[in-house]
Symmetry: none
Subunit: 285 residues, 3 copies
């Protein structure tokens, strides 16, 4: 699929196909809410850009969450992302973060994160700094290049920052999502990052954390009328053993699984998120 970067190249039929919205409706949205402002061909045909595809998709997302068309359109327009701000080199920051954490230097690690937060969005900070660092840390740990003390020290600090960003994520109007790690799972950082990213997209988060029995996940989902249940798994074996119960749970709630160990569930017909948390949160919305 050719990358439709800057200017108008899509005709209305193609936009319709890609966005899943009928051509008539697209024209109506344009007329009534000014959702799109396509260029015109010499003969008067509408020509849409890649940004337009995104805008229509946002509109559909908002419709799906229950907003009425006029409001959904206004929001979709307002959310236009201006342009990714040039950060001061994610790679440098990542290296500095790694170095600070490796030398038990909390203040410096905090400063690096502060710097990243000042320069970009939370999303980008997560996707470009925290999550890659965690990945790298995991790899190094597997190769025996780091000690548990370092790993613990680093997660303590990152957990604090992530939970700080998470403050208030239970507030508001969005649909609720229950987040938990499967029984015996302790790694919650990716899950928190996922929650923060979901939150930024309007969800309301109910966070249960590591090592949560499925019974109580269900209880929480019921009590909070959650529209989504996200379970994180690090180790495939544990997931395999739980597949029947997970399937039952999926019958009663919209269930998604994530984390490095979630793969086995896919074969069982369950929804598995494979990418990085931020991207998946974006896709879910």
């Amino acid at each position: 699929m050719p990358d439709v970067a800057g200017e108008g190249v899509l005709r209305i039929g193609e936009l319709s196909k890609r966005s899943g919205v009928s051509a008539e409706l697209l024209r109506a949205w344009e007329r009534r809410y000014g959702l799109l402002e396509p260029q015109r061909s010499a003969g008067g045909l509408r020509l849409y850009s890649g940004a337009d595809v995104d805008r229509v998709r946002r509109m559909r997302r908002h419709l799906a969450t229950g907003l009425a068309a006029a409001e959904a359109a206004a929001l979709a327009r307002r959310e236009e992302t201006p342009a990714p701000a040039p950060a001061n080199s994610p790679a440098t920051l990542r290296a500095e973060l790694a170095d600070a954490l490796a030398s038990f230097d909390e203040p410096r690690a905090q400063a690096v994160i502060d710097q990243a937060l000042a320069a970009t969005t939370v999303d980008t900070m997560l996707a470009e700094l925290i999550l890659p660092y965690l990945h790298e840390l995991g790899d190094r740990w597997q190769r025996g290049e780091t000690t548990i003390a370092h790993e613990h020290f680093a997660s303590g600090i990152l957990r604090g920052r992530l939970l700080g960003l998470a403050r208030g994520w239970g507030l508001g109007m969005g649909p609720a999502a229950v987040l938990a790690c499967l029984p015996a799972e302790q790694h919650d950082l990716g899950l928190i990052a996922f929650g923060v990213a979901l939150r930024a997209r309007g969800w309301r988060i109910v966070y249960l954390g590591p090592d949560t029995p499925l019974d109580t996940v269900e209880e929480a989902a019921r009590e909070t009328r959650a529209e989504l249940v996200m379970l994180s798994a690090a180790l495939p074996e544990r997931v395999r053993a739980l597949v029947p119960r997970l399937r039952a749970l999926a019958g009663r709630h919209r269930l998604v699984l994530g984390g490095p160990g979630a793969e086995p569930a896919r074969a069982a017909g369950l929804t598995v998120l494979a990418g990085d948390p931020v991207a998946e949160a974006a896709a879910l919305s």
Copy 2:
């Protein structure tokens, strides 16, 4: 029971339910002894406050001890506590925090903590709000009165707040203290609280968190030239098994143990902190 702050919010039926006195009788007590002086709604309905509930309860107690109604009323009125919890007394806040966390209501829980922080020091907030709540939660959990979901939800939020207060605790010139939970131990909230309290007294904190092998504790202590190593233990059995190694560690660093399961170490000649984390942190400095 819920808040019901200053002014009249209860109608007579609800007061009746809460005090266990029939509505007719309440009106009679008002007329005859002036026990209550409720506000009135625009339409003339009586509106009672939380203090009124207490006054009626006192009245009942006095009746039960055999006083005549008139005397009981007089007494109940005279006993009015001048400052009956100015809406943010520790007890009230604690109840409200418990209520918020029990109903998966993150924003309210955060608001309660904010309120406490605005009114007192971090030390007091920890000692009077967070730690007692954790204690209570533990008790309730043991009695099967709460579910794991609630316990997880609550610790997630409290951990976030504590780690927020902890931010920057590695900064400075003070002596360093290494904090960790013993292997297999997951409960780190008390340990973090201890760290925060230590920090407020000038220590520099290196926090390793839950489930940390002794090897790596020692490694971190060496690398950071720590003057103190604090290990937290929830279950006595685990401590017993580790006593020899702990003793060796104590030979090389100033070592203290804490948490509900640390007792067995005392017999082995190790230093054990028995009180609440804040008090112990104060004593250490």
Copy 3:
């Protein structure tokens, strides 16, 4: 800015679904108790915000505890939580703080600071939010663009927060620093910020506040065996007159001067901090 929860986006049906309260009842609550004050679409449809969802939920909670509708509504309105506000860049936060303070909106101002504190370190919060704002306020005041009322309102709130952060700064084992404003000087906010930053680096603070005679400063420094004396000056003239005495003081203690009016002292061979308080505190440690 993805989640624009501030504005009205929900129609009554959706609010009904999310809050579990029928549309008729929502309208009744609005009419009878003014619980909600939705915006209106061009055609007159009610448009609700995320805060409205929360308010309805609070109302339901109070109803569930037995309050009658009128009282439940009054309470739900009174309990308004300051602001949800999704994660933001420093610049945005600063603008929002300025806006809140300019409109005498204390809760919102507090919420902005809360948010900043949740997401970053105290250092960064000071350096990126509070101090730049103070600078800006000073400039505006000089240009006559703000009134004394605003200036007082703003400093009152900021002083409160800073002193909140300062709580306990006299505690601990670090070296002591005496902080004071020169005689006749009233502006202490920068000085307090400096103290907070010093404290974060392990110093013990002895704070004497505005308009302190030099005699008193010296006495405090002697009694507390301070390793550092920091004096703040806003107006150069006052400093000039005091140079001889300051020089004498510098002979007995390590003395530094700060604030916009400290410059003249430099010529006299005294140490003057010119940068922002946080950076200077870092440099001193």
